[in-house]
Every structure is written in structure tokens, then in C-alpha cells.
């Protein structure tokens, strides 16, 4: 029964495909998986948008949407109908083809990332040997679509937003990659399935997730920072800073094209949270060995949703950074620490088992952090934000 629940989706797929002639089976199985992904994540997106609006409301001591349906649960449907029925305006001087392609490309590229994510035991669309590389190349293509949107709109705000987005996303791409390299070093594989399998074993009931090691923890924190910037989420939402740039790169998008950008942004949040869970939080593996009976896909999706909750929480808490603060933070703080983390991971690997490597690795990371903070404070690179107009 446990086995059945765990493999429910796989068995269901095999059962469905079994009705078809042998020649078509592989194709049908693939398109079935693709359809499931294309349906499941937008549904999750609808839930998340509601969750975000309610959560942010509560953080600000408001109710959030509570008019459509019972406690506002039908709000996503209302939003969807609204965005579908709105007029689709294309600026007269816009590059029509690129303007149209940009949101489509974004969504397509973001969906591609889900192909290599293991969402449960045996639940992966393609188990690529270079899964991680594929994922990153796809998420990097999102930058292109954002720049396409900004450039083709022929609007100064769009272009400024796109410039910001590209500068930010390329800057944070480096720490993002660097913070996940230690995982690859430890596992010895770029395949995400293998990375999860390497973490899904237990000693004394506790899992061997990478986050429970000094380099894994540091890597996870920096990965989280880089992903927030990568997905243009607050506090790194400069590309669409409402107070400065109207809406950033999607200023000239309305109706369903805007909805596609919105969808793309959330989907990239899901995929990158899923990757974070896969790399550091043991993917679909249970947090304790006695919980092993819970279906693996439940664990994957609960880890994913937990990351989303943290994203929302951060958005409700932090103010937006300034462009130079953002860049300084990426190049002068996160990147050096990720580079150091590579060394620490190597040290961890070659110091063998025992308590000594814990002490050494933790000490190096903690000292580096303290030193970076002190140094930054002394040189005035890091300081409390002061608002002259508020004094």
C-alpha cells in the first residue's frame, strides 16, 4: 500500500499507456508527464498567489482578499478571468514579434527546468546526466526573454527595468552556480536524481542532507540569497520596482501577456525552490527515517511550498535594495564566501570522518563571515540604512 501510494503517479501512467499500441507508448508516456507538469504547476501558482496575498495581508495586519468565494478562495479564478478578458495592448512603436515572443519564451524556458527535477522516487521526466547544467542553462535563458520584453516594448521604463534585470541576474548567476558546485563535488554527479539518492540515507534516524553540514548550510544560505535575486523577488525586485519604474520590464504588457510574465516569475520560483530542495534538503527524501512511509512526492512538494512561504515572508519583511547595494552584495560579499565555501567543501571531503572536520569547517566559515562583516563595516561598505528625509 505504501509502495502503491509512493509510486501512484507512475503506476497510473503505466496503466493509462498500457491501452495504447506498443509503438506509441513511449511518446504517450512522455506527453502525459509533460501535460501533468504543465497543469500541476500553474495550479500551484494559483494557490501560491492567493497564499501570498493573504499572507502579506496578515503580515501588514490586513485581511487580504476575502470577497470572492469563501474567505476569498476563488480569488485566483477571478484574477484569471480578469487577465483573460483585459485588452491586449501592443505599443505602436514596439517590435511586435519580439514583444509577443518574450512572455512565451519565458514560460517555455521556465517549464523546461522542471524536466530534470526529481519530484518523487522515480518521478523525473528525463534523468539527464548533466541535469544541473541543463537546469541552469534554462534558467539563464529567462534573462534573454526579460531583456527581449524590455527592449521590444520601446519604453524607457521597460528598458531600464530590463537593464537592471540583466545586470542583476547575471551577477547573481555566479554565486548561484558557485553555491551549488560543492554539492556536485560531494556527489560526484550532475544528475539531480543521483544528488537526491546521495542524500536519502539515514544514520540514527537522521538524514544525510547536505544542509546538515557546514559547507551545505553556508551553501544553502547563499543559494537562497542568489535565488531570491535570480527570481527578482523582494528585496531584490529592482527590475520591477513599482515606485521607480512603473512595472519594470513588463510595463507595456497587459492582459494575458502580463499574466504569462507573472506565471513565469512564479514558475521560476517553484523550479528554483525545487532545485534548492533537491540540492540541499534531500529532494523527495523524508526528514526522519521513521517518516519514510509518507509518499516521496509529498515531501518534495512540502519542501517546495516551505521555500515559497519563506519567499513570501521575506517579501513582507525587507525593503528593496538600491542598485549599487545589490551589486556590492553580490560581488563583494556573496561571491567571495561561495568561493571560500568551495575550499571548505574540499577540506570536508578530504579530512575523513570524525569531529575534527566539523570544527575546522565551521570555524573557517564563521571566521570568514565575521571578518567580512567587520571589514565591510570598517570600510563603510555595509552600514545601517539611514533615511535623511526621515530624520
Amino acid at each position: 500500500m505504501i509502495e502503491f501510494l509512493d509510486q501512484f503517479f507512475i503506476l497510473f501512467k503505466n496503466w493509462l499507456v498500457g491501452f495504447l499500441p506498443a509503438g506509441l507508448q513511449q511518446l504517450a508516456a512522455l506527453s502525459l508527464c509533460v501535460t501533468t507538469i504543465i497543469l500541476a504547476f500553474p495550479l500551484l501558482f494559483a494557490v501560491t498567489v492567493l497564499l501570498e496575498r493573504k499572507g502579506l495581508g496578515r503580515i501588514q495586519n490586513r485581511y487580504g482578499p476575502n470577497r470572492v468565494g469563501w474567505f476569498g478562495v476563488l480569488q485566483p479564478i477571478a484574477d484569471g478571468v480578469k487577465s483573460l478578458t483585459k485588452e491586449d495592448i501592443v505599443p505602436a512603436s514596439a517590435d511586435k514579434a519580439v514583444h509577443f515572443l518574450a512572455p512565451v519564451l519565458l514560460v517555455v524556458v521556465v517549464f523546461m527546468g522542471f524536466a530534470v527535477l526529481p519530484m518523487g522516487r522515480n518521478m523525473v521526466l528525463v534523468d539527464m546526466d548533466c541535469g544541473l547544467l541543463f537546469f541552469y542553462s534554462m534558467s539563464a535563458s529567462a534573462e534573454l526573454s526579460i531583456f527581449m520584453a524590455g527592449w521590444s516594448s520601446r519604453n524607457k521604463y521597460s528598458l531600464l527595468g530590463a537593464m537592471r534585470a540583466v545586470a542583476q541576474m547575471i551577477s547573481y548567476e555566479v554565486p548561484l552556480l558557485m553555491s551549488s558546485v560543492p554539492v556536485v563535488m560531494m556527489t560526484g554527479s550532475l544528475s539531480l536524481v543521483k544528488i537526491v539518492e546521495a542524500q536519502a540515507h539515514y544514520s540514527y534516524g537522521f538524514p544525510h542532507w547536505y544542509i546538515f553540514t557546514p559547507w551545505g548550510f553556508a551553501g544553502f544560505v547563499m543559494y537562497a540569497i542568489a535565488t531570491t535575486a535570480e527570481t527578482n523577488r523582494s528585496p531584490f525586485d529592482l527590475p520591477e520596482g513599482e515606485s521607480e519604474l512603473v512595472a519594470g520590464y513588463h510595463t507595456e504588457y497587459s492582459g494575458f501577456k502580463f499574466a504569462l510574465f507573472f506565471l513565469g516569475e512564479y514558475l521560476s520560483m517553484f523550479s528554483i525552490s525545487g532545485l534548492g530542495a533537491t540540492l540541499f534538503l534531500g529532494g523527495w527524501s523524508a526528514p526522519f527515517s521513521f517518516l519514510g512511509w509518507v509518499p516521496s512526492w509529498i515531501w518534495f512538494f512540502s519542501k517546495l511550498m516551505l521555500s515559497i512561504v519563506v519567499f513570501i515572508w521575506l517579501r513582507g519583511t525587507l525593503p528593496r535594495l538600491r542598485q549599487d547595494q545589490l551589486m556590492n552584495f553580490a560581488w563583494k560579499f556573496v561571491l567571495p564566501l561561495t568561493l571560500l565555501n568551495l575550499m571548505v567543501a574540499a577540506l570536508w571531503r578530504f579530512m575523513g570522518d570524525g569531529w575534527l572536520r566539523w570544527v575546522v569547517c565551521l570555524a573557517i566559515l564563521a571566521l570568514a563571515y565575521v571578518f567580512m562583516c567587520r571589514n565591510g563595516l570598517r570600510r563603510g561598505q555595509i552600514r545601517p540604512r539611514r533615511y535623511r528625509y526621515a530624520e
Binding site: I59, T317, L318
Partner: protein, 188 residues
């Protein structure tokens, strides 16, 4: 230490999140169409015309002196003075506005008409639900729509209305005295 402030902030927002489910007084939102807060006494939206007595047409305090029309900065008041005179609430013959219209789409709620009115005939209303699907006719308020009884004025601006009533009563008493003092004055 770097990052300490972020943790403090996260704790604060988490506190807000959970406490808003527990303590009702954190949620200051008033769910408007169902719930309402009592309007403030100083609230003012657009002007209205005060009338005494029961009949709005007969009791209008306005004597059509057109000061407000001249003073109105955006020129949103239109008054047509009557040809004849009618007795007002005190029985004195006065001109009255044959037409008195305020275009609320132009009015900027500056209250200058109220300040300049020597007869306390025009006052600020506190009613704010003026949405209409007719943007010309619906926003142009005529004499009938503008006329509100003095009791209504007491209801929305109690202190101010009491002051106005006292002042009017005093002025009338004075006027009555002067007419008594020279009974054969005009021969009427």
C-alpha cells in the same frame, strides 16, 4: 552582526502574521459596505442647502444673493434668481433661487461658499456615496437634491449647527425688537 536586522524584521512580521489571527484589535480594516465607522463631525464633502420647516421649497434659507456663485473658485455653482418674492420661514418677503445647481464633478470642496454665505443657507454635507452611472446628469445636483432640513444639519455637524441656530435666533430676536421699537416705521 550582519543579518541580525533581517532576523529581527522576520520575527516582527511573523509576530504580526500570527497575532492578526488572535487579536482582533490589530486588524484596523473596516469592511466597508457592511461595516461603517461613524463619520467625523468635521467631515465635509460637497455643499448642500439648509431649509427650515417641513416644506423644502418654502423653507430654503437661500435668498439668492449669488455671493457664493461669484466666490466659487472653480465656478461650479449656478443660480437663477427668482423674479418674485416669497415669504421665508419667518414670513419676511425674500427672493428665492429659481434654480440652484452645483456641479459636483467640478466642485473642489473648498468650503468658500459656506464661508461667504451671510444667511447660513449653504453648508457642507458629509455624504460621500455619490457614485452614479450618469456622469453629467447624475453629478449635477439641483435645488431639490441639494435641499436638506436643518435637522439633518444638526445630525451631521451637531456643534456647528447648534452655534448657527443660536446666532440666527439672536439675530431674529434683535430684528423683532427693532421692529417693535418703531411700530409706525414703514407704515405697514
Amino acid at each position: 552582526m550582519l543579518g541580525e536586522g533581517i532576523l529581527k524584521g522576520l520575527a516582527e512580521t511573523a509576530k504580526n502574521f500570527f497575532a492578526s489571527y488572535v487579536s482582533k484589535d490589530r486588524l484596523t480594516t473596516v469592511e466597508y459596505p457592511e461595516e461603517r465607522i461613524a463619520p467625523f463631525e468635521a467631515a465635509r464633502v460637497f455643499p448642500f442647502l439648509v431649509y427650515d420647516g417641513d416644506d423644502w421649497a418654502a423653507g430654503l434659507r437661500c435668498v439668492s444673493c449669488q455671493i457664493c456663485e461669484k466666490e466659487c473658485p472653480p465656478k461650479c455653482i449656478f443660480i437663477e434668481k427668482s423674479k418674485d418674492k416669497k415669504p421665508d420661514a419667518q414670513g419676511k418677503l425674500q427672493f428665492y433661487p429659481a434654480r440652484f445647481e452645483i456641479d459636483t464633478s467640478v466642485c473642489m470642496s473648498c468650503q468658500i461658499c459656506v464661508e461667504v454665505c451671510p444667511f447660513d443657507a449653504i453648508k457642507m454635507n458629509a455624504e460621500f456615496e455619490l457614485a452614479t452611472d450618469d456622469r453629467f446628469g447624475g453629478l449635477l445636483l439641483d435645488r431639490k437634491k441639494l435641499a436638506k432640513p436643518n435637522e439633518y444639519y444638526h445630525q451631521i455637524h451637531a456643534t456647528e449647527a447648534a452655534g448657527v441656530d443660536a446666532r440666527l435666533a439672536e439675530a431674529r430676536a434683535k430684528a423683532a425688537k427693532t421692529t417693535e421699537a418703531k411700530p409706525a416705521g414703514g407704515g405697514d
